[in-house]
Symmetry: D2
Subunit: 362 residues, 4 copies
């Protein structure tokens, strides 16, 4: 998206291996010469919040800028689940269940997990029997459904799917929260039909990820119903999430959103990933999950999976019983032309008859 990365080897490990898009850093530099009110009570945070309110069609929404994904999830869930006996429902693959070191439990809340398919998505049909089982004071009270857009498997909920979830939740007294660490990428997906206004209308809370979308750090947490956010600044401070120089986050979001850079970065990430997917398909390899955003999950024989992981720092998502591995490739705003060409060539190179024939389970 911007001129070249001078590293030893190309990385497709994740979308947070470079500091930030240079235009974002430029905005931060301006703040060195400007005195701002601390703790997020500044004009940039207010401006950014107003843009977000307008984008999601919720003029009364409460916006809280936070530092990172886990903190944002913990904060949101604490706001939704005021009472310690209330619990959150999520997919077994949900980030809060798998990769946050028990942060929700550390905050004293139970996560109720539901096994899902390889798309990582929850549906009313999956939730309902689990939800119905909670019936007495000997069990927690489910109060919130947590999903991710895009999911941990790179897929996205369609508007129809999101609407069904929203209706199910609200009919049953549940709130709906969307982890948007990669919301930019989801919004700009070719297959996407969900707008920010839809999120505003259908969800009780969601966040626009900044860290994985070209900012130094920072997420914009949106509570569509400001009552849910009651005393949210007390929560933020108590949990150690308050950012002294909160105006930095505000100014980064302001810059990214008012110029459209936020969406350009997401689009670039998706398009870069699409080019790699093309090479994967040409090479005859299969995907583990449908490709939709900036995360690709490719199926490879174990040996090849290890090589891909070693060469490009890729995360091994799953070691399947059939011997194949699902390996993750992620593009970022710092992904260069050279890097895309390099990994594409890797796949083509492996596409000799021998290897593809040996594809386990083929």
């Amino acid at each position: 998206m911007y001129s070249g990365t001078n590293v030893d080897k190309y990385s497709f490990r994740n979308d947070y291996s470079e500091s930030a898009h240079p235009k974002i850093i430029e905005a931060v530099l301006k703040l060195a010469y400007e005195t701002n009110t601390p703790y997020g009570m500044d004009k940039h945070s207010e401006a950014a919040a107003n843009i977000i309110r307008e984008l999601c069609g919720k003029p009364e929404a409460e916006i809280a800028f936070t530092g990172g994904g886990t903190a944002t999830n913990v904060l949101a869930i604490s706001a939704f689940l005021r009472n310690s006996y209330e619990a959150v429902i999520c997919a077994e693959t949900g980030h809060i269940n798998v990769h946050e070191t028990g942060s929700i439990e550390y905050a004293g809340r139970k996560t109720i997990t539901i096994p899902v398919g390889v798309d990582g998505k929850l549906t009313p049909e999956l939730i309902d029997p689990v939800y119905r089982a909670f019936e007495s004071e000997h069990m927690v009270v489910p109060k919130l459904v947590y999903i991710s857009q895009s999911t941990e498997l790179g897929t996205i909920y369609s508007k129809a799917e999101l609407t069904a979830l929203s209706e199910y939740c609200h009919k049953n007294g549940l709130k709906l929260f969307v982890d948007g660490a990669r919301l930019g990428s989801a919004l700009m997906a070719e297959t996407n039909d969900v707008t920010l206004k839809d999120l505003g209308a259908l969800c009780d809370g969601f966040y626009l990820g900044g860290t994985k979308n070209g900012l130094l750090f920072g997420e914009a947490l949106v509570f569509t119903d400001p009552e849910i956010a009651d005393h949210i600044r007390w929560f933020i401070k108590q949990k150690g999430f308050m950012i002294a120089k909160g105006f930095i986050v505000g100014a980064m979001f302001e810059e990214a959103l008012k110029t459209g850079l936020y969406f350009d970065i997401a689009k670039y990430e998706n398009e870069s990933a699409a080019r790699i997917v093309e090479a994967i398909k040409q090479a005859g390899f299969k995907l583990y999950t449908e490709f939709q955003t900036n995360q690709i999950f490719v199926l490879l024989p174990a040996e090849l999976g290890q090589e891909l992981s070693d060469t490009y720092g890729c995360f091994i998502q799953d070691r399947l019983p059939d011997g194949n591995w699902a390996v993750r490739i992620v593009t970022s705003c710092g992904t260069t032309e050279d890097a895309i060409a390099d990994i594409s060539a890797w796949f083509i190179k492996k596409a000799c008859a021998g290897i593809v024939k040996s594809y386990i389970g083929k």
Copy 2:
């Protein structure tokens, strides 16, 4: 410290109202073109940690880079107090007691508070009778003493004072932790005789504040005994304190420490404050506490205190029974010549016979 701030009015509210020293931001910009391992496992964080290890004479120390002060205090205290029945002793004015919205209690630990004088300092003599009172399973077990350097009142512990505390703690099975949100300023104080090596030798943990010392954000938490830090990365992640792009913090500390900028900024802050103190004294006003670092606490009649607060965004520390107010003036690396001149002139202007005569309690 660097060229002018273009704000509406000069601010002496705190030392975190500008984003960062431009040289720091330059270092961050370089990272836009460089791929780094996430979560603080990068070469910059390692380099910065090694500089810190050398500076404090503890080659085996464990260093954790965190995002802000409250998070750092919570993290450190959680590492020191593994068991929920263990407690931390602090001054009644201690930051963790007063201004962190019960973050220690949220983490499930009790703070045992001890009334202190206007210097905000703990001594073995103050601690001992309190410590002795905890004797059975019906009471918590004090395990840690928390102090700040500089203190919340801008004062600093001398080497003799710190040594006495350290000896008392270690003789009694207590650990000693130093909140160093403003450690740079303390180290560079004219009256200071405590080195980083002394801190390394006398304390079990301390941190070098970055947020209030010219960095965008970030603190460097030092555990002199690496065993205390066992599994510290699990704590960091679980509490929502892990920084995805941790290499940004590492690179900022690397830049600030290897060039000496970290200490230059602190020195500049102190010297700027010293010039304002001179004006205050010339004008005939008194200080609430001894001036030593970059925080000035001036005594003013209530009306004048309010005016100073309104004009320069100053925090009102205390409303004394005698009618005077203790108002805080803080300098930062963004404090300009013009700002210093402006507030100095304000004091001189007020120094007409009438006002000084009316000084309550004079």
Copy 3:
């Protein structure tokens, strides 16, 4: 109160050294031959709750039977402070601050402590300046005032004092909770003018202690406003406080309250203590606090204090700077005539000129 205790030495350590009044145990024996619904959903608990509702003039009150004092305090405070940033104000000598091993902090809530006099009582005047200091999201939000009736120092709040506290709290959006571990003794004190109906009218919650009033165990927690108690059974279960055979507690309270035994026991405790106080005064010794209930705090020279403690298992409340000790003598429903005579004789025996003359500070 019932025939003799066959122990090695007489004990005045506390009011929970015998199992229970025999009539109470008789009621429990009946339940061996009766099948009851578990977890407190039984007819005895309902009957006991109804008696309590009538006694305190609150037909809509929510009553929860619990196992012991600390559990009851934790439960009540959790119900009052739903949000982790909310805090409870108490006397520095308050049981929750001193003798519950940080149970409130373990539950994630901060206790705001206020220094009080030797009577251990809070007043609006003591609370107000502390309460006023909490003003921003950097500090917790005081939401509840916790007092004990009788206090940890054996004193009781008068109706006027309780009314003043209640009015102050409710005017300031604070709730008022009364720890009634020794409420029976307080209600039956000669100097008492507070009825259960007064408590019902003035407080938002309080409990009738059973453990220290002749029951095997158990406290009756009263929420005068049932909304405060929302989902209280979920809290009870989650905290590990639910009693499988809750009907035992219900039946003990039913028996104690419907026969008046509850009040007879308290009266007996107070009268036994009064007889000892008479001996103390005859012997020329002074009390540390006003004698009102079943706890006596006598001032003795250190050596004598130690002897009293050794002989009768008494708790040493305070070692005063003047060399005297405040030693606690407690009577229970198992205190015998012989025991009263024995400790009275001890005081008289010490009343020789020599010892009384040596009374420090006389």
Copy 4:
């Protein structure tokens, strides 16, 4: 086990619907005339602890008497998992996962759940793949395996199964804890080959349930390694689990164990259940799980399941996809001859050709 229950209808709801075996209550009555040291520091608790130490062949074991099952599990798990990032592995049907209202999460710890068969048992084979997945600071650290003996499904681990689990755990740095709410019944099962000495040798902790085995309340928690129990009394107090009159629990266990009553009660419960199982089989109904202890899980068509539940207060364990229900029948020390005859007759009565033919899935 003792003469008749005078209730409206016979109950097979659970094993805690009567207060206690009369002999136990007799022991408690003696304590009304005896002064004992509070908080479990008394001679009866010490005597009971010594009997338990001898029974399980662990003279150095630490014994803690607690009030109920959830409290005991929370206490044990807190002792095993000192650090908030440590987690407990259990069966999906485990009591701590399903029926304790998130008490483990309230204590800040994650439960890692593993789907198990209808026997409710964990095996090394089930644990291993789950355990292996936890590999970085982004995930919790499994430290403890929790099982129940008997399980929530009434089955028991054989000595071979327990040994395999123990070996697996200890080879992998995991501790093994056994919830013994119904340990008496398990020990006295006809099919049982596990002794208390085996438990002492194979487990790191377990408890002997009292509440469900004829005591008023109370469990005896055994830590075979006293180091695990470090400062356990501080945990007990802080969590609100300390019993003021702890000597009552001590004396009940002393009485039950020294006279063998503890085991007689368990045996009686099992034998009563066996007689009902005989009737069930005669009537042609099937069991959901193998019958081993004092819990019977019978498969019935939904309508009949509802009738059984309505008539005898039975808990519906599962509504199976095939239309049958698994309904639980529990016997207790208060189960009378008449009650056994009554429920046996109910099954025989239903055994007419029509109903058994309609047995779904037959």
